[in-house]
C-alpha cells in the first residue's frame, strides 16, 4: 500500500460516517494506490475510476490474486494456518493461527501471532460492513456444514475453511480502505482478552437497534430514484448470481462423475492382470495394459484433487460473493431511501408552514385562551426550527449518499477486476491440469506401444496405424 506510506498526512479513520471534508481525500487515496492493477496490460481500458494517464510503475504490475507472490511494494503479509481443536465444558471449537508480518507504521511491531476462531472472523466482517456499508467485503466460508458431512470437524472441511479464511484476510489487507480499519488491526494484533474487551466497545446495543429499525423502515419504504448505473449493477448481479450458482453445481457434478469413473477404472486394470495369469504369449501385453491403466488411475486421482482444491472452492467463493453484492446494493438503496424519506419530511414541513391555519389556530387559540396571532407566530417559529434541523440532517444524509455511491462505484470496478482474475485463474489452472493429465496418460500408452512394437508385430501395428490414419477424422 505505497499510497498510504507515501502520504502520512492522510490517516485512516475507522469512519462510521465519512465526513464530507475527508471524502475527497479518500478518493485521492484510491488514485494514488498503484496496486489496483490486476491485468498485465499497462493501460486501463475499461473506463474504471482510475485515470488512464496515471503512471504505472513496474512495481505496480502485480497479480493481486496471487497472494503468495512476494510483491515489491506489498507491506503486509498474513497467513492463516495451524488449526487446533479446543475442548471446553460447553463446546468444541477450532482456532487458527493468524500470522502477520508488516512494515506499516501504524503497527507497533513487525510481526504478530495470534489465534482466532471462526466467531472472531465473523465479528470482524460484521464490523467492516457496519463501517463501510457499500464496500464489497470478501465473503467468509460458510458457517454451517454442508450436506453430506458426518462430522463438523473433518480434515477436508477444516482445510477448505482455513484456505478461505486466509483469502478473506488477504483480500482485506489488499483493500485500500478496509485495510485501514482499526478493527482489522485489533484483529491481527490483539491477545485474546484484548480482543474480547475491544469487541465490547463500539456502538451500544440500543444505538445499533435504532439503526436497524431505521434500516428496516427504509427497506419497506423503498428507494424512488435509483441512479441508472446501480440498476444496471443490480441486473448484472442477479444474472451473475444465477450463472455462478449453475457453474458451481456443474463443477460439483463433474467432480462426482470423475470419482465414480475412477472407482470403475480401479477395478478394470486388475482384470488384465488376472488374465495374464492364464496366458503365455500374451503375458507381456496384458500386464502392460494393466500397468498403463493403473498409472492412468493415479493421474486421474491427481486431476480430481486439483479440481476439488482449485476450481470448486473458487466458484463457491463467488456464489457467496454474489450474496454479498446483493447485500451491498440493498444497503446502498437503504441509505438513499433514508435520504429521500427525510427530504419528503422536509417538503411536508414546508407545506405545513404555508398552509392557512388561521381558522384552526383561532379555534385552538381561543380554547387555550391564547391570542390567535401569538399562537400563529409560535407555531411558525417552531416549524422554522424544525425545518432548519431537517435541512442540516438532509445535508449530512446527502453526503452520506454520495460517499456511499462513490465507494460502491470504486469498489465495484475493483471487484470486477478481482473476479475476472480469480475466475480466469481458476479455469486456466483447471485447463492446464487437464492437459497435464492427458499428456501423462498419453506418455504411458505410448511407452506401452513402444515396448510392444520392439517385438514381432511391427508389420501389424504399422498396418493398423495406417488404417487408423486413413480413417476420416471427424472432430
Amino acid at each position: 500500500m505505497s499510497g498510504i506510506t507515501a502520504d502520512p498526512t492522510i490517516s485512516c479513520t475507522p469512519a462510521q460516517e465519512i465526513p464530507a471534508d475527508l471524502s475527497g481525500q479518500m478518493l485521492e487515496l484510491d488514485e494514488d494506490d498503484d496496486l489496483e492493477v490486476f491485468s498485465k496490460d499497462t493501460t486501463l481500458t475499461d473506463g474504471s475510476f482510475f485515470n488512464a494517464s496515471m503512471p504505472t510503475s513496474p512495481a505496480s504490475m502485480i497479480n493481486q490474486y496471487k497472494f503468495e507472490e512476494e510483491a515489491d511494494d506489498k507491506d503486509i503479509f498474513i497467513t492463516v494456518d495451524n488449526p487446533e481443536s479446543h475442548v471446553t465444558a460447553i463446546e468444541t471449537f477450532i482456532t487458527y493461527r493468524v500470522l502477520t508480518k508488516t512494515t506499516r507504521s501504524e503497527f507497533d511491531s513487525c510481526e504478530y501471532e495470534v489465534r482466532r476462531r471462526y466467531q472472531d472472523f465473523l465479528w470482524l466482517k460484521g464490523r467492516l460492513e457496519d463501517g463501510h456499508p457499500t464496500l464489497i467485503v470478501h465473503p467468509l466460508p460458510e458457517k454451517f456444514v454442508m450436506k453430506g458431512m458426518v462430522e463438523r470437524f473433518n480434515d477436508d472441511f477444516i482445510e477448505t475453511r482455513r484456505k478461505a479464511l486466509h483469502k478473506f484476510l488477504n483480500r482485506i489487507a489488499d483493500h485500500p480502505i478496509l485495510s485501514c480499519s482499526e478493527d482489522f488491526k485489533v484483529f491481527l494484533t490483539a491477545q485474546a482478552w484484548e480482543l474480547t474487551s475491544h469487541k465490547k466497545q463500539g456502538p451500544g446495543f440500543l444505538s445499533r437497534m435504532g439503526e436497524t429499525v431505521r434500516a428496516v423502515a427504509a427497506t419497506v419504504r423503498g428507494v424512488k430514484n435509483r441512479p441508472e448505473e446501480f440498476t444496471a449493477i443490480q441486473e448484472y448481479v442477479d444474472t451473475f448470481s444465477q450463472k455462478i450458482t449453475s457453474l458451481d453445481k456443474v463443477t460439483q457434478r463433474i467432480l462426482k462423475e470423475q470419482k465414480e469413473y475412477l472407482d470403475e477404472l480401479k477395478e478394470y486394470g486388475p482384470v488384465y492382470t488376472l488374465w495374464s495369469g492364464s496366458e503365455e504369449e500374451l503375458v507381456e501385453p496384458l500386464k502392460g495394459v494393466a500397468s498403463c491403466i493403473e498409472r492412468c488411475c493415479r493421474e486421474k486421482e491427481e486431476q480430481i484433487s486439483h479440481l476439488s482444491e482449485t476450481l470448486v472452492p473458487s466458484l463457491h467463493e463467488y456464489v457467496l460473493c454474489a450474496e454479498t453484492l446483493k447485500s451491498v446494493l440493498r444497503r446502498r438503496d437503504n441509505i438513499q431511501a433514508e435520504y429521500e424519506a427525510k427530504n419528503d419530511m422536509l417538503a411536508n414541513k414546508k407545506a405545513d408552514r404555508e398552509v392557512e391555519y388561521k381558522d384552526l389556530g383561532f379555534v385552538f387559540g381561543s380554547f387555550l385562551g391564547k391570542n390567535p396571532e401569538e399562537a400563529k407566530q409560535q407555531r411558525q417559529q417552531r416549524l422554522d426550527g424544525e425545518i432548519e434541523e431537517l435541512k442540516e440532517e438532509i445535508d449530512k444524509l446527502e453526503d452520506k449518499v454520495e460517499c456511499a455511491n462513490n465507494a460502491l462505484k470504486v469498489d465495484w470496478a475493483r471487484w470486477q477486476k478481482n473476479m475476472r482474475g480469480d475466475i480466469r485463474g481458476a479455469f486456466l489452472s483447471t485447463a492446464e491440469k487437464n492437459i497435464d493429465y492427458y499428456e501423462k496418460c498419453l506418455a504411458v500408452w505410448e511407452s506401452f506401444l513402444l515396448s510392444q512394437k520392439s517385438e514381432h508385430s511391427v508389420e501389424g501395428t504399422r498396418e493398423q496405424q495406417a488404417a487408423k490414419d486413413a480413417r476420416p477424422q471427424d472432430t
Binding site: I244, Y268, G277, S278, K468
Partner: protein, 434 residues
Amino acid sequence: MADCDSEEIAVIGNTDLTAAELENNKNNTMAEAGTTLLRRMEISVAEAEKRTGKNAVNMQETYTVYLIETRPIDAAAESQNPTPDSLWRRYSEFELLRNYLLVTYPFIVVPPLPEKRAEFVWHKLSADNMDPDFVERRRAGLENFLLRVASHPILSNDKIFHHFLAEEQGWKEAVFETGFQAKADSRLKALNATFRVKNPDKRFTELKHYSDELQSVTSQLLRVRARVADRLYGVYKVHGNYGRVFSEWSAIEKEMGDGLQSAGHHMDAYATSVDDILEEEEHYADQLKEYLFYAEALRAVCRKHELMQYELETAAQDLASKKQQREELATGTIRTFSLKGMTSKLFGQETPEQREAKLSVLEEQIAEGEELVKEKNAECEEYVKNAWVDIERFKEQKDRDLKEALISYAIMQISVCKKGIQVWTNAKECFSKM
C-alpha cells in the same frame, strides 16, 4: 481379428461401401494365407434389411436378413469388376451352418457367431436386436465369421459351406440331407463322459481349464469395460453444461464475454467427442467377445475328446470283463459274481455242451470287442492328432489377434488423450483471453 502374413490380402467387397465399412472389412478380413477359399474369392456381408414373414407357428414376425456377396478374386484383379454374386441369409441360417460344421468337424475349433442378443451393453446402447447399431455390429460379426471359415484350411473346403455362399434356395434341405443332426452327440451323453472318463489326455484337461479361465476372464473384462465406458460418458457429457452456462454468462460480461463464449464451444465439442470414442471402443469389445465365444468352441473340442476317450475306455473295459468271463468259464472258477453263476449254483451246473456254446459266443464277442477297441483307439488317436493341429493353429491365431487388439486399444487411448489435449489447449487459450 486375424492378422495377415501373406501378400494376398483378399479383402474389399462391394465398392459401394462407405469408407467406414471398407475400413471395417479390412480389419475383419485380414485372414490367414494358405490354400483357402479366401485366396480365390472375395466374401462380404454387405447389407442388412428388415423383412416380415410367417414363422414356423404361422405368426407374423420381423427379422433381419443379411446380404452375402461373393466375387472371384481374379476377376477383380483384372479390374473387370463384375457385379458380385449375392444372396440373402438370416441369422438362424448362419446358426444352422455352424451347427453343421460343429458336428461334422468336431476336432476343429469352429469360429463363433456374433452374439444372438446384445449383452455387456453400457447404458447408452440399447439391448434391442432391431437397434441399427446392433444390427451393424452383427453384420460385421457375421462377415468376420464367414471370413474365418473361408480362411480355415479344412473348413473352407466344405461343400455345404460353398453352397451356403452360392445358392439361396435349397440350402437348408441340403444341410438336413447330410443327416448331421443324427451324428450330433447328446448333451447328456457328453456330460456323462466328462464325469466318468478316467484317463483323458492331459493336454485336453489343461485346455479345458484354460478355456474356462478364458471365458471367465473375458466376460469379467467385458462387464467392467462397459461400466467404465458408462462412467466416462457421464464425465464428458456433464462438461456440455459448461457450454450452456458460459454462453448465458457471456451475455452480461464485457471483457470476459468473448473468452467465455468460445470456451463454451470447446466444452460442447469435448462433450460430443465421447460418442465417437465409445463407438470405437465397441470394436475392441467385439474382438474380446469373439474370444469369449471361442472359449466355448475350445471346450466343445475337449468334450468330444472326453467322449471318445470314454467310449474307448468303456469298450476296453467291456473287452476286459469278457476276457475275464472266458477265463472263468475255461478254468471253472468263478471269481466274478454273475446271475448265471448263482443260478447254476442253485439250480445245478450246466452241461459241458452248454459251456462250449457259451465259450464260443464269448470268443466271438471278444473278437468283436478287440476290433472295436482297435477301432476306437485309432479314432481317438486320429482325433487327438487332428484336434491338436487345429488347437495349435487356434492358439497362434488367438495370440496374434489379441495382441493386435491390445495394441489397437492402446492406440485408441492415445487418440483419446490427443483429442483431450487439443480441446483443453483450445479452452485454455479462450480462458486466458477472459
